[in-house]
């Protein structure tokens, strides 16, 4: 069963994430994924995450397929105009990539090439609509395609975003444009997440709650100050702060497991962003009852 079929069947799915490296040394990342592939249903491949120039998401997605894993190809609108975006969607299709997660993307000035031209010719909503059009055999100006791609389209949503009504409105627009599943920004507050799900459960889409493994109290504080929509509660910051350095992974696993158990009845699955701590993902899953 592929990701869509699993979600349809009601299985609580688990996705994780690979961030391609700056350079060609991709094999360690693929091996890291292989190590947990039996427990994870699909792997997102990020698209020049944080606007840093890296190995591409499409090539990495294809490598995952060759190793028997299912990729979720992430696509941002930062670096390509509408011709290149449509062309890459067609390329993804012929390379066997079906799951596409569409995002607007971080601004270029936040990355390591701040001098670059930010493209944003399309945005998450318009690219979703364009991808849906390709699936109906038409490019965005209405020309017929010779060979029609098929995608399972996804998007992102940030449950902790303020104002929430605006975030829900945007989510609704993404759904109308063709998004069938959503992965969320990192969740640390289950009450806030439940409140968000009350709003979002009226939509007929699959929602995977986001999990980011905390590495330290400093990382938690950094995210609270700098990452939109993320609020790590004091109690988790204290747990990380009081743990010995060698015990931090254990505490982090415990926190993630608590969150995952709490999310289990609320949404269709989880999306774990290990940010370099992929080796602890099996522990997280075991502690969460998977």
């Amino acid at each position: 069963m592929n990701l869509e079929e699993k979600l349809k069947s009601g299985k609580f799915v688990i996705t994780s994430e690979i961030g391609p490296p700056k350079g060609t040394n991709i094999m360690p990342h693929i091996e890291e994924a292989e190590h947990i592939k039996d427990k994870v249903d699909a792997f997102n491949v990020t698209d020049l995450q944080s606007s840093v120039m890296r190995l591409g998401s499409l090539a990495t997605s294809r490598l995952l397929i060759e190793k028997g894993m299912e990729p979720v190809f992430q696509m941002t609108c930062r670096d390509r105009n509408r011709l290149a975006l449509q062309s890459d969607l067609l390329s993804a299709s012929v390379l066997g990539v079906r799951n596409v997660l569409i995002l607007t993307g971080d601004h270029t000035v936040l990355g390591d090439h701040p001098q670059a031209k930010p493209v944003f010719d399309l945005d998450s909503v318009s690219l979703l609509k364009v991808a849906s059009g390709l699936m109906k055999g038409k490019d965005m100006v209405g020309n017929d395609l010779d060979g029609i791609p098929d995608f399972f389209l996804g998007a992102v949503v940030s449950p902790g975003y303020e104002p929430q009504e605006l975030q829900i409105l945007k989510m609704e627009r993404k759904i109308e444009a063709g998004a069938r599943f959503f992965q969320t920004q990192a969740v640390y507050d289950l009450v806030a997440f439940e409140n968000f799900m009350k709003q979002a459960s009226k939509f007929r889409v699959y929602i995977l709650g986001g999990i980011v493994l905390l590495k330290s109290a400093a990382m938690a504080k950094f995210m609270n100050e700098n990452v939109a929509g993320v609020n790590v509660p004091e109690k988790y910051i204290n747990m990380m702060a009081t743990a010995d350095k060698k015990d931090r992974p254990k505490v982090s696993v415990q926190i993630a497991a608590e969150l995952i158990k709490g999310m289990k009845g609320l949404c269709s699955g989880i999306h774990i962003m290990p940010l370099g701590w992929a080796k602890y993902v099996p522990d997280v899953l075991a502690a969460s009852g998977f």
Binding site: V109, L169, A228
Partner: protein, 212 residues
């Protein structure tokens, strides 16, 4: 030099019909092209809804606009919508001064080069040639959003500030707040998926539209 083009007649009529409307026309710049005849012919068609027509010079200048609008205080209490025939800066200045009344652009602005500097410092018009102010509460998404997004905010804003600069307000949060104030939040939900047409930009120095 100013080049504007009147918006599609049917679109304006659709917005103003059955409402009491104030029309503002700006004659400040010595235009190469300001669609005066088309405006007057449109105004004839919507005359049943038009409560008053006022003529301005340099409505883009906030202190002028404020004085003009003060003279219209009585009318402003009676109308439901304002249609502004000016460049994109003028429309935004008016919408900023009367945030509780929907302000509709009557024109698309293609070219205002040579006039920046005397206009408002707070709002800007990038002369995209397809004015979006009617669906964004009079706040321009092209110039107030660092990514120029037309279909809602990205996820990057924190506390209403832009991801690239904590000093800068997120344009879409401002648009959301303005639409809330106008009780027109449904506009975001109902809007078509918007995509720019870059042919409508007149490149500086060429002085002509990129027709292709």
């Amino acid at each position: 030099m100013l080049i504007t083009e009147i918006k599609k007649k049917e679109d304006i009529i659709e917005i103003v019909k059955d409402k009491k409307v104030l029309v503002l026309k700006c004659y400040g710049c010595k235009e190469v092209y300001f669609p005066e005849e088309e405006i007057d012919s449109l105004l004839k068609e919507i005359k049943d809804y038009v409560k008053e027509i006022a003529r301005f010079d340099y409505i883009c200048r906030e202190e002028f606009a404020e004085k003009y609008l003060r003279h219209l205080e009585r009318v402003l209490k009676e109308i439901e919508s304002v249609v502004v025939f000016s460049c994109g800066v003028g429309v935004q200045v008016v919408s900023k001064l009367i945030p509780c009344i929907p302000v509709i652009p009557g024109c698309d602005t293609h070219y205002i080069n040579g006039f920046q500097g005397i206009t408002s410092q707070d709002v800007d018009c990038q002369q995209c040639g397809e004015c979006w102010l009617n669906i964004t509460g009079g706040i321009c998404p092209v110039t107030s959003c660092s990514k120029g997004l037309l279909n809602g905010p990205c996820g990057g804003a924190r506390d209403g500030k832009c991801e690239i600069n904590p000093e800068m307000d997120c344009g879409w949060v401002l648009i959301y707040q303005r639409l809330k104030k106008l009780r027109e939040i449904e506009i975001i939900k109902k809007a078509a998926v918007n995509i720019r047409d870059y042919r409508l930009i007149i490149e500086s120095g060429k002085g002509v539209k990129n027709e292709s």
